[in-house]
């Protein structure tokens, strides 16, 4: 653990130092930077009859140059690009001036701190909810597997096959109802899968006219259900559960009469209440040991999950243009080329990831101390 701690702290110090130097460099550069005009493009900018915002005018200028100075097409291409770059820089400088954007200041830092706290809060809530959701979904799926349940469509197919083999000439309303219910469940599951795999912006734009998509609640909801986060890590946890359930100690425990039935809420089975509980415990059941060992392995993937979650939150804030949020601010400052603020925000996000990595490693270390003698180093 000491080695890991040292590694994390040294990378935090080194990266922070690099970022601080860069922030200082960009910040002190504001007063010096002026939009320099290339001597090569000056005569063309003086032509007031050319509107450089109009693509047609730019194309005409390029074609005219190609006709009057043949064989220099790449140079003309470069010239047009230089004009565009100069104008973009000029607009950025003007915008900075108009909006009084002078880079990082104490008031800006205060503003960013508020957004940062908000970002961390949303992140923690989503992390907690996904931590719970991942385990609950995986456990429910594992129980379904142990009950030898097929997919709804396969269940429908075998039901119809059985039904027409046993009573080929009669059709009851209850059979139709059962078939429709299975089909409905299959469709609902398919729809749910599509939602869980949708990038946040697809879901948000689908419902933008119906709900207030800028609220924190909606952000948290999107963070949990979208971008494939929940389903991907639930699958990982499910894989750990399946792998654990095949190990020898489980068979030994079953032979030694530990409870092994997976009927929900039945005597000797698994209680649904315990499955839905935040702290999942299944005393007296073999699943308790499967779950603990799977959860221990899952802890190692939390760092990865956290990083993916932050990617998701950044996408949500940026793609939905949620004003007053950290990543929206990041995007705006990229747009206005205020790179000192951009770097400050990125440093903040880096520190969140590093903090999560530290916490996750420590948690894993504590768990290792309880269960695994080899993992204590």
């Amino acid at each position: 653990m000491r080695k890991k701690l040292l590694e994390h702290i040294s990378s935090i110090i080194l990266v922070s130092a690099i970022f601080l130097v860069l922030i200082y460099h960009f910040h002190s550069g504001y007063r010096q930077v002026q939009t320099r005009q290339d001597a090569r493009i000056a005569p063309y900018l003086a032509l007031d009859f050319i509107d450089y915002d109009d693509p047609l005018h730019k194309a005409l200028l390029k074609e005219s140059l190609n006709i009057f100075q043949p064989g220099q097409e790449p140079a003309h291409e470069a010239l047009i690009r230089a004009i565009e770059a100069y104008r973009a820089a000029q607009i950025a400088a003007l915008t900075r001036q108009q909006r009084n954007l002078q880079g990082l200041s104490f008031s800006k830092l205060g503003q960013l701190s508020g957004m940062y706290v908000n970002f961390i809060l949303v992140y923690l809530i989503v992390m907690l909810l996904t931590y719970y959701g991942v385990q609950t979904l995986a456990v429910l799926r594992f129980i379904r597997l142990q009950q030898n349940r097929e997919s709804y469509l396969a269940e429908l197919a075998s039901f119809l096959q059985r039904r027409f083999r046993d009573q080929p000439k009669t059709l009851h309303l209850r059979d139709l109802r059962r078939a429709a219910a299975l089909l409905g469940k299959a469709l609902l599951k398919g729809l749910l899968y599509l939602v869980l795999f949708s990038p946040a912006y697809v879901i948000a734009y689908s419902f933008k006219t119906r709900f207030d998509t800028d609220s924190i609640f909606f952000m948290v909801l999107l963070g949990v259900i979208s971008n494939g986060l929940l389903i991907t890590y639930a699958q990982k946890f499910f894989t750990f559960l399946v792998a654990e359930s095949r190990k020898g100690y489980v068979q030994t425990a079953i032979v030694k009469n530990l409870e092994n039935r997976y009927n929900l809420n039945a005597a000797g089975g698994v209680s649904l209440g315990r499955v839905l509980n935040f702290r999942k415990r299944f005393p007296g059941h073999v699943f308790q040991h499967i779950f603990i060992n799977a959860r221990y392995q899952y802890l190692a993937t939390i760092k990865e999950q956290a990083s993916f979650l932050i990617t998701g939150l950044v996408i949500i804030e940026m793609a939905l243009n949620i004003q007053g949020h950290l990543c929206y601010e990041l995007m705006q400052n990229i747009l206005y080329r205020q790179y000192d603020i951009v770097l400050t925000i990125i440093l903040g996000i880096f520190l969140v990831v590093k903090g999560t990595e530290l916490a996750s490693d420590y948690w894993q270390y504590l768990e290792a101390r309880r269960y695994d003698n080899e993992g204590m180093g």
Partner: protein, 289 residues
């Protein structure tokens, strides 16, 4: 009867089943669009789809190369006891790991934009490999970790020492026996997942850039992808129409005729991500990974 048996085999091999579902679904969608979507929009969707897949394919090639090299390199550096290069490389990889992928790729895109504007990246065909390189820089670590995990796993087996005693060079044991002969299925499965992650990241970054940074990159010709197509105003309006269906269910059929561009692009992204997830799971189950 052989056909039925074949179908049953495919049904049991979930990865192949989902690959067929993806191909079938995409072809069906293309056929529908041929009938009902206007030709320029269809051409845009086809280009976006092709670019997205070309970039994703390039990313998995580059990630495989980078992951293999860094994984094997780290192993040999650690074993050689050459602590400074080993510490430096693992430190650098850990820093990349701590930067959320989307932020890293966004910074990479800004550099690409600057390069295009300065004329260093002139040919449109050259932009695609550079984008692939930027994305692979932030996703290859999964391969690197897997390579190291596989080496560590086989390192404890008897055959490793036995082969060394027989005089087989260690690089050959690691590269050929462990990785090529005994870990290809694991690596392939990871590459399928990376393919999905790449499509997700690429579409998201292009969407973000097209929506939020359009002023900065409008003069730059970045290749059209599904993400940038989705960010176009007509596509966004098509997606907004889905919300309208919640209160006006009668509007649903019109989505498939009047809002086809946006619906097609969104569906392609979501359907592809879902199918890749299912393919990766099916593959892992079939090979018992």
């Amino acid at each position: 009867m052989p056909l039925l048996a074949q179908l049953q085999t495919i049904y049991q091999r979930k990865d192949q089943l989902w690959l067929l579902i993806w191909l079938g679904g995409t072809l069906l969608l293309w056929g529908w669009n041929r009938l009902f979507l206007n030709a320029p929009a269809l051409a845009r969707v086809e280009t976006g789809f092709a670019n997205t897949f070309i970039i994703a394919l390039l990313v998995i090639l580059l990630s495989a190369a980078l992951g293999w090299l860094s994984g094997v390199g780290l192993y040999f550096l650690e074993k050689a006891g050459n602590s400074l290069p080993y510490l430096t490389l693992s430190f650098l990889l850990n820093i990349i790991r701590s930067i959320p992928q989307i932020v890293g790729i966004l910074l990479g895109y800004i550099l690409i934009t600057v390069q295009i504007q300065s004329g260093a990246l002139q040919r449109p065909g050259a932009v695609i490999p550079v984008i692939a390189m930027v994305i692979s820089l932030f996703v290859f670590l999964e391969i690197s970790d897997l390579v190291r995990e596989r080496i560590a796993y086989y390192r404890k087996r008897d055959f490793y020492n036995a082969m060394q005693v027989c005089g087989i060079p260690e690089w050959q044991i690691v590269n050929r026996e462990i990785l090529w002969r005994n870990s290809l299925a694991h690596l392939f499965n990871k590459l399928i997942s990376i393919f999905g992650v790449t499509i997700f990241l690429l579409c998201s970054i292009d969407f973000i850039i097209s929506v939020g940074l359009s002023g900065n990159v409008s003069s730059v010709n970045l290749p059209a992808t599904l993400g940038s197509l989705l960010a176009k105003i007509d596509s966004k309006q098509d997606i907004l129409a889905i919300g309208h269906v919640l209160t006006h269910p009668g509007y649903l059929p019109r989505l498939f005729f009047e809002h086809l561009q946006g619906i097609t692009v969104a569906f392609l992204i979501v359907f592809t991500l879902l199918c890749i997830y299912k393919i990766a799971n099916g593959f892992a189950r079939r090979h018992e990974l």
